[in-house]
Amino acid sequence: MAKRVGIEVSIALAEAVKLANVDVIPAYPITPQTHIVEHLSEVVANGEVDAEFIPVESEHAAMSCCCGSSAAGARTFTSTSSQGLLLMSEILFIPGPMRFPIVMAVVNRALSAPISIWNDHQDIMSQRDIGWIQTFADTGQEAFDLTLHAFRVAEDRRVSLPMIVNLDGFTLSHVVEAVELLSQEEVDQYLPPFKPRYRLDPRKPITMGPVGMPEVYSEARVAHNEALKASRRVILQGWKEFADLFGRQYNSVETYRSEDAEVLLVTMGSISDTAMTAIDTMRDKGQKAGLVKIRLWRPFPGPEFRKAAGKAKILAVVDRCLAPGAICGPVGAELRSLFYKVPGAPKIFNFIAGLGGRDVTVGRFEEMVDKASAFAKKRPKELYEVIGVREK
């Protein structure tokens, strides 16, 4: 039976990996991911799970090991943050097209310079196009559930793609929350053993990772992209079966008090909870504000988002990432593309908030909604604004 406990979210996520009966964990510690791999090294050392913990010399080696162990048919997990994710970058583009279902928890943290260990989404947005399935967790329960969902979806033979669960550093990873931990029997019901379509086996040799000459490279890349787009169905099915078994239903995008809203805040990750409080406050004042939370970032759930946005006139899109020199932030740009020349599309304004651990308060969300409403009447010079930044 599931057990509801007060637990640090990092530890809960690591427990999900343990319950998934992981085989190989190549990992290198980095703040704020450390508690996840620290706990996993403990459970491996204690014999609580029959797995190899490989204390690698760098994140580049961690992801290289992940590719090797996944190719050999082992259930593989790793976790990283920020600069560590960037050191993996060269290898991160490889498991997608090679169809290795590695699962990784990215504990989102800002990038240098200046050095910051605190939370925003600039690390993962810099690696947006690595071709992994990507979800964003909002709560501790989600971090636990989405990790199990990630193994289930990534390893599904129709998908066979790597998958990232994003969770905000400190503001989610280090807080103690009430989390319902599933029992081993329950997890086994949901997550079948990993049976890859192909694996490295000396008795049945194949070549993985050959050169793609100009005659075939485009086809190989398109095959990967199509597989990523087609994974949508299995992602949704994975959530539905999770709900059937355990009662918690997840969707690609979630809405909060959005039905008759004129202005919708759009968020990803743990700031969504504060945004919900802000919506309640604004609703109490009679403002028609609502929220759309994006849980599935890649493949981007376009149809679901359009449906969720409904008839709203204005979107106030929150990005936790400043894209230097760009027209606007990555989520803002995605949604502008989605709604470009769509009849009756909402006006979209982009706010860059919460960089490097800056708190995004209820008041800030109210400010964004008010500004977006004002911008809808008088178009601003730039398509985005860095919220709360001091000039002098």
């Binding site: 097209p97 090679m98 169809r99 290795f100 066979s160 379509r197 192909y198 040799p205 194949i206 070549t207 993985m208 990772g209 050959p210 793609g212 100009p214 005659e215 075939v216 485009s218 086809e219 190989a220 398109v222 095959a223 199509e226």
Partner: protein
């Protein structure tokens, strides 16, 4: 580049772009990259086999009479054999056209 219209498409390409047949690289004839070919002077050749040892593509084979010959379907024309030959019995000659 070859005519790409007649080749495999993204729906028919192998899973993960894996090569399912072991040892199939032998079918990939690398000799068409060559801009020069080795020509062996049997008068100078002492059958030492240095060309055979050094050839990075294993394009050399020994014939029954003890001399060595090069398989031009795989020789990339790198010239290592000519460089290593202790008797200067191998000359690199530009390919025509």
């Amino acid at each position: 580049m070859a005519n790409t219209d007649a080749m495999i498409g993204w729906k028919t390409i192998t899973f993960g772009c894996h090569v399912m047949e072991p040892g199939s690289s032998v079918k990939f004839r690398t000799g068409d990259w060559r801009s020069q070919r080795p020509v062996i002077d049997k008068e100078k050749c002492i059958k030492c086999g240095m060309c055979w040892i050094y050839c990075p593509d294993m394009a050399y084979t020994q014939t029954e009479d003890g001399f060595f010959e090069v398989n031009l379907e795989y020789c990339k024309g790198c010239g290592i054999c000519a460089h290593e030959c202790p008797k200067n019995a191998i000359t690199m000659v530009p390919e025509e056209g």
